[in-house]
């Protein structure tokens, strides 16, 4: 595989780069970001063979330069960890398809997710696969839903919840995206109809895999609302929720998300994001500094109602980077069909989850106490 990583200098990108630098499946690895000094530092840390790993600084918003770089490098796979993804996902994925490269990203922006299916025809024509959103949520959550659905004859309701600790290290783009997902109405499905819940108002306690446990979550916007509906169109209920392990930090974030400035947060610049990140992680907390996701899938099996709850827990960078690395390996092996594919359609959920589990991510099933 000849892979180009966009956003390689970010928290997720660095982890993906380190994993792929060690992989024998990767013949050539290009690392891209805006900051030359950080790219050089990364090259230094990875200390790979310079004829195999090299760095390229360019701004993805500069379309002409980006397209030229893509043509020059001519990768067979572009992995994007650049974000926030709203303005970047569609133009960059299209540019990748145009040079005959498959696309894999950590994007978790619901607006970007709605625009991606437009690339299906060009991707099929180019014989490449586009998987937008293959990190934790969307990504692992899609795979868990598909795994749970294998136990049901009919899927009626899906609830997805994610949580992270404000002290679990992640990048500024991830925090900006969380704020964007909480600001504005939260699309969901209730009684079989698509509705908009009024943002992060009503709380709901969710029991995540230990050591995380109970966390207060709120409705938000995430790409699963688009991807899961296209896989299970007859759903009666579909909801996505998120919460920070630290309640006061989540209160502060909801307060910020309620303001008119929230959607513009992505443009505030790194200093503002860094300040917010430091402020949030400064809350004293007895809770664990982990992140987790849980899916609840309800439906019918053998003519009876049945519910399956699955979850994952680890640090956010692992939960996001490891699915991307496992997916890259599947794409390199040519086991995916061309076109735009949601993670659970592009890959066999069990085999991808097994790969991720072997890397240490805890995948668990809830066995409820009978009370």
């Amino acid at each position: 595989m000849q892979a180009l990583i966009l956003g390689a200098t970010g928290a997720i990108g660095r982890t993906v780069a380190a994993e792929l630098a060690r992989s024998t499946e990767v013949e050539r690895l290009w690392l891209a970001g805006r900051n030359q000094a950080r790219l050089e530092w990364l090259l230094d840390v990875l200390s790979g063979d310079p004829s195999r790993i090299s760095a390229h600084a360019f701004d993805l918003h500069d379309g002409a330069l980006r397209d030229r770089r893509f043509r020059e490098l001519s990768p067979d796979l572009v992995i994007s960890c650049a974000g926030p993804a709203r303005q970047l996902e569609l133009p960059c994925a299209r540019a990748a398809v145009e040079v005959g490269a498959s696309w894999l990203s950590s994007a978790n922006d619901h607006v970007a997710a709605e625009s991606i299916p437009a690339l299906d025809a060009p991707a099929v024509a180019a014989g490449v696969t586009v998987v937008s959103g293959c990190g934790l949520s969307p990504g692992l959550t899609n795979l868990l839903v598909a795994l749970a659905a294998q136990e049901l004859d009919e899927v009626e309701e899906i609830e997805v919840a994610t949580t992270r600790s404000a002290r679990d290290p992640a990048g500024q783009a991830a925090l900006a995206q969380l704020l964007i997902g909480l600001s504005g109405p939260a699309p969901s499905i209730a009684d079989g109809r698509r509705i908009s819940e009024p943002g992060p108002k009503a709380s709901h306690l969710v029991y995540f895999p230990e050591p995380v446990g109970w966390v207060e979550t709120f409705a938000g916007a995430s790409p699963e609302i688009t991807t899961l509906v296209s896989r299970w169109p007859g759903l009666r209920l579909l909801r996505w929720r998120v919460g920070l392990v630290e309640k006061p930090a989540m209160d502060a974030l909801r307060l910020l998300a309620g303001g008119p400035w929230a959607t513009r947060f992505a443009n505030w610049g790194p200093a503002a994001s860094r300040a917010l990140q430091q402020a949030l992680s400064a809350w004293p907390s007895a809770g664990p500094a982990w992140s987790a996701a849980r899916v609840d899938v309800r439906g019918q099996a053998d003519g009876r109602p049945r519910s399956v709850s699955l979850g994952v827990v680890d640090h956010l960078v692992n939960l996001t980077a490891l699915p991307l690395v496992a997916a890259a390996s599947e794409l390199a092996a040519g086991r995916t069909e061309p076109g735009v594919r949601a993670p659970e359609r592009a890959f066999e959920p069990k085999s991808l989850l097994a790969r991720i589990g072997r890397r240490g991510v805890r995948i668990a099933r809830l066995e409820p106490y009978l009370v």
Partner: protein
């Protein structure tokens, strides 16, 4: 700031902090575990 305005601001500020603190206390009690999270084994995924 005139004394009445400053008293109003202080009262408002203190009530907001009080409300927030009460919410933290009320919500810091979580239910007992909902169940047991059992590891999904490699065999189940195989």
């Amino acid at each position: 700031m005139p004394p009445r305005a400053s008293r109003l601001v202080t009262t408002l500020g203190l009530s907001l902090v009080g409300l927030w603190w009460a919410r933290q206390r009320a919500h810091s009690k979580v239910p007992s575990p909902q169940g047991r999270w059992r590891e999904v084994t490699e065999d189940e995924l195989g």
